[in-house]
């Protein structure tokens, strides 16, 4: 879909704007009709709040804190997940032995562990980074294992007949071969990092966008809460788009080679 979006089509752009307008109109009608609780802000209030939020220092500070925590946790997870995944995926014995443990870990709702982590580390950015890293680790790990496992028989034979040394094999065959899968894991976990960071902030006193949403809601500043929600969505969307583009560019060979 993003490819289609890139080819400029004025008619489509207009219709898209129209779709957004319809959505906002429906929202306004619903608010007026009284179906939603009375404190639900209308379109104009939310728009005004978005305007005032974007110029406030608090917003930029909390955005920075959320991004920093998400990015740090994500980077830790990517480094650990890739290394561990290549190791596990290329050693069939270890792969089989660790499969239950990894399946358990990936299906663990890490946010449920947050109260425990808060008890040990306190309600701060460090705790947030730990929870983000723990959540982001699994997609990277699991995808990397898939990638490392999936070695073409022909490539394995080639590497053996030409007696490629282990280190060279790791660097030039295993890693690039698994790269499309690793990239997927990295991309998935990037979205998760923002999601979890905001989630942690909503639930704890760790500073950031999520914390602002909770505070705004508790203070009955609903328009502000919606504005923050809007920006949280925007950030998530932006990151997804960014990584998709980067992946398409860096892994051109993968798309081409597989038709």
């Amino acid at each position: 879909m993003s490819n289609q979006a890139r080819t400029v089509d004025p008619g489509l752009a207009l219709q898209r704007l129209l779709a957004v307008a319809v959505l906002l109109a429906v929202w306004q009608v619903v608010v007026f009709s009284g179906v939603l609780p009375s404190m639900t802000p209308g379109v104009v209030e939310i728009a005004a709040a978005i305007g005032s939020t974007i110029t406030s220092a608090v917003f930029w500070a909390s955005l920075g804190k959320t991004m920093l925590a998400a990015l740090s946790g994500w980077l830790i997870a990517v480094a650990a997940g890739t290394g561990l995944g290549l190791l596990v995926g290329s050693l069939p014995r270890l792969d089989r032995s660790s499969s239950i443990l990894i399946d358990f870990g990936r299906s663990f709702p890490v946010l449920a562990l947050m109260p425990v982590v808060i008890m040990m580390l306190g309600s701060n950015t460090r705790m947030e980074i730990v929870v983000v890293a723990l959540s982001c680790l699994w997609p990277v790990l699991v995808q990397t294992i898939y990638g490392a496992r999936r070695q073409e028989a022909a490539v394995v034979d080639t590497v053996r007949t030409f007696r490629i040394p282990k280190l060279l094999w790791f660097r030039r065959v295993l890693l690039p071969g698994a790269m499309p899968f690793i990239a997927t894991g990295i991309r998935i976990s990037a979205s998760i990092s923002i999601l979890v960071a905001v989630g942690v902030e909503v639930l704890s006193q760790a500073p950031g966008i999520g914390r602002q949403i909770t505070l705004a809601q508790q203070a009955q500043h609903w328009d502000k809460a919606f504005a923050y929600l809007f920006f949280a969505g925007l950030v998530g969307w932006g990151i997804a788009l960014l990584l998709q583009t980067a992946e398409a560019r860096l892994l051109k060979w993968n798309r081409q080679a597989n038709g």
Binding site: M1, S2, Q4, A5, L12, Q15, R16, A19, V20, L36, P37, M39, P92, R93, R96, S97, S98, S99, I100, D103, F104, R106, S107, F108, P109, V110, L111, A112, P115, V116, M119, M120, V142, Y146, R149, R150, Q151, S191, I194, L195, V196, V198, G199, V202, L203, I209, G210, I213, T214, Q217, Q218, W222, Y228, L229, A232, G233, L234, G236, W237, A240
Partner: protein, 276 residues
């Protein structure tokens, strides 16, 4: 939208590249698959037994508390509440996601028009909705179910669209040539053809649902597993907090394993046909 959908067959990747090893007995295989878990368990047990940190209770204590609250009915009661919310939210998400996905998958123009809106909504961090929905609608069961449904809908929707787009053009043409009526066409052609992708979407939605379930209860609740964890940590009942978190993890694992088993059942024709 193809790049946003999740592959239907990560679990099959294992089968494709590993040849079945003959000559190992079931017992040996069981040992191979379980020794690492045993090691982790024993290490945790031994290391935590000597823990002097108030916040790191011994595994023995955690398990004792878990057994106590399981048999007293506190945890089963919470689990029943939480899982009911999860099931209701997930069902709602699947129903809405499939219907919308089938429509958007077939209506090309409409799909292109609403594409940015869909991608914006699915990018909204699900946990951020919790304060708003619960704040507006209260701590009851309904708001929790809606939050779960909202969060789970996007993967189902996106994967359904992707599944519909992936229907063989030949099949599509065949339906046109034989003038299959729309109702029958959706029910017997598009839906089964898109089913592998839809199921994959639900597989993605499940852990999201579990997370939102816990978060909605950790935020504000009077019942449920999340409430159990929150209440224990607020009253400094440390082993209970650990036990609750661990129990939620086990539930998550059991549900995902059960889902994979169901998936194999439902999609037997697909796996057997070896379709790509």
């Amino acid at each position: 939208m193809a790049e946003t959908a999740v592959s239907t067959r990560p679990d099959n990747a294992r089968r494709r590249t590993r040849t079945v090893r003959t000559g190992t007995s079931p017992a040996a295989r069981l040992l191979e698959r379980s020794w690492l878990i045993a090691v982790v368990f024993i290490l945790w047990w031994v290391l935590s037994a000597r823990s002097t940190n108030f916040f790191v209770p011994s595994l023995q204590e955690i398990l004792a508390v878990l057994a106590r609250d399981l048999s007293s009915g506190v945890i089963p009661d919470g689990a029943a509440y939480s899982l009911t919310n999860l099931a209701a939210g997930l069902l709602l998400a699947v129903a809405v996601g499939i219907v919308l996905g089938l429509i958007l998958g077939e209506a090309n123009r409409l799909r292109q028009v609403v594409d940015p809106v869909i991608h914006f909504f699915r990018s909204v961090p699900q946990a951020a909705l919790v304060p708003l929905i619960i704040g507006a609608f209260g701590m009851g069961q309904g708001p929790k179910i809606y939050t779960i449904a909202f969060a789970c809908m996007w993967p189902v929707l996106l994967n359904t669209i992707d599944g519909v787009l992936g229907v063989e053009p030949t099949v599509r043409r065949f339906a046109k040539v034989y003038r299959i009526p729309p109702g029958l066409y959706f029910r017997r052609v598009v839906l089964p053809a898109a089913l592998p992708q839809i199921v994959a979407g639900v597989r993605v939605a499940l852990p999201i649902g579990i997370t939102v379930m816990v978060v909605s209860e950790l935020f504000a609740a009077t019942r449920g597993l999340g409430f159990y964890i929150l209440n224990s940590s607020a009253t400094f009942q440390v082993p209970e907090t650990w036990a609750g978190a661990l129990f939620v993890g086990v539930i998550g694992y059991i549900l995902s394993v059960a889902f994979v088993l169901c998936e194999r059942r439902i999609l037997r024709w697909y796996i057997k046909s070896g379709a790509k």
